[in-house]
């Protein structure tokens, strides 16, 4: 019967080994499962954080660009007012030149008449008046040339600012998701309704 002892020990060891192996297998399974959970959790969090950053960045960019568009349009409007002022000044000075030209023609006619009848006083006075008119014209021409330069400068600034404003508007529409498109549509609708109310169509 003594030979049963090693067999018993062997069977006992085998049972113990099986139990420990089973426990190891289960522990390993739990660890594997936990490890996968952790890896998935890391990936999920990273993805969510990236999405969160992108969303915040896009929202900030949208507001920043809308503000910039507002500023740009305000400055463009002011530049247009200045251009309009320069145009009106230019037009006013041109009218002055036209009137002075008419005056000069009238004085030249008067000078001819005075010379024909040889009225020395009238000749002298008309020549003086003609000098005065020519001085006035020369001065207005010089000033009008400066206003003309300013007019061209304002026109160029208005065009640049208008282009910038339009580019910003289109950028917001094309790059700021649905919010950008909605903003663009609202802006265009407001423009249309303003044009209709002003009767421009």
């Amino acid at each position: 019967m003594w030979w049963l002892i090693p067999i018993g020990i062997g069977v006992g060891l085998k049972l113990l080994y099986d139990a420990v192996s089973e426990a190891e297998y289960e522990a390993r399974e739990r660890w594997e499962s936990k490890r996968e959970d952790v890896e998935k959790s890391i990936e999920d969090h990273r993805r969510n954080i990236e999405k969160h950053i992108q969303k915040a960045q896009r929202s900030y960019d949208f507001h920043f660009l809308v503000d910039l568009h507002y500023s740009s349009s305000q400055v463009a409007n002011l530049a247009y007012q200045l251009l309009d002022d320069a145009r009106k000044s230019f037009s006013g000075m041109s009218k002055m030149l036209k009137k002075s030209k008419e005056q000069r023609s009238a004085l030249q006619q008067e000078l001819e008449d005075a010379r024909r009848i040889k009225d020395r006083n009238r000749i002298h006075e008309t020549i003086e008046q003609l000098k005065m008119v020519n001085e006035l014209r020369k001065s207005i021409f010089e000033d009008r040339d400066r206003v003309k330069e300013q007019k061209a400068q304002f026109l160029s600034e208005v065009q640049r600012l208008n282009n910038q404003t339009r580019e910003l508007k289109e950028f917001i529409r094309d790059r700021c998701d649905d919010g950008g498109q909605e903003w663009y549509d609202r802006l265009e609708a407001r423009k249309r309704s303003r044009r209709i109310s002003e009767g421009k169509r």
Binding site: R30, V38, A56, D61, V75, S89, L136, E157, D174
Partner: protein, 188 residues
């Protein structure tokens, strides 16, 4: 002496959305194997049982560690989201302040330009009137000269108004914030 790994470590710490990884699996296997197997093999025939038991314990310890890591990851993610929200709110507030400041600035410059506009219109009217008076019949040469000089002085002011207006406009143009579109947005 600073190592090459230090800047990498710093950049990882500075990044808002960075969730630190947990220890890779192969390190765990290597560490447990290196520690236990040679020792337990010395206790044969129970070596295999002891090895399995040691591994069970190691897996349990590692599972516990992963639980802690999971809690750390969740906490780190919450902090990251919180930082993003706070940074966003701060940036939006900055934008709001800048908007208010710019609107105030536009109003001031606009008022200045309106004043210049009115003055310019009045000066042009006065110049035209002075010229008209200079050409009227029945005036002496001295009176005509006076009106002519007045008209010249007035028209000379008109380009000055343009210069002043241009200065104000340039101030406004310079006040426009530079376009800082994020690379993400440019990528579409």
């Amino acid at each position: 002496m600073p190592t090459e790994q230090e800047p990498k470590k710093k950049s990882r710490e500075a990044s808002v959305g960075r969730i630190d990884s947990v220890e890779p699996t192969r390190d765990f296997h290597r560490s447990t194997g290196d520690k236990w197997i040679p020792i337990l093999k010395a206790f044969n025939p129970l070596g295999a049982i002891a090895d399995a038991y040691a591994k069970t314990l190691a897996y349990k310890i590692e599972t516990k560690r992963l639980d802690v890591e999971l809690a750390r990851i969740n906490k780190q993610a919450n902090i990251a989201h919180d930082v993003i929200d706070k940074t966003f709110r701060l940036k939006m507030e900055e934008l709001e302040h800048r908007r208010i400041a710019l609107i105030g600035f536009y109003q001031t410059v606009n008022a200045e330009l309106q004043r210049l506009h009115i003055e310019r219109v009045k000066v042009l009217e006065m110049a035209q009137l002075a010229q008209q008076k200079a050409f009227e019949a029945g005036l002496s040469l001295e009176e005509r000269q006076m009106f002519k000089e007045m008209s010249i002085e007035m028209t000379r002011e008109l380009p000055h108004f343009g210069d002043k207006s241009n200065e104000s406009l340039q101030k406004l143009v310079q006040a426009l914030p530079p376009v800082e579109i994020s690379p993400r947005l440019l990528e579409g």
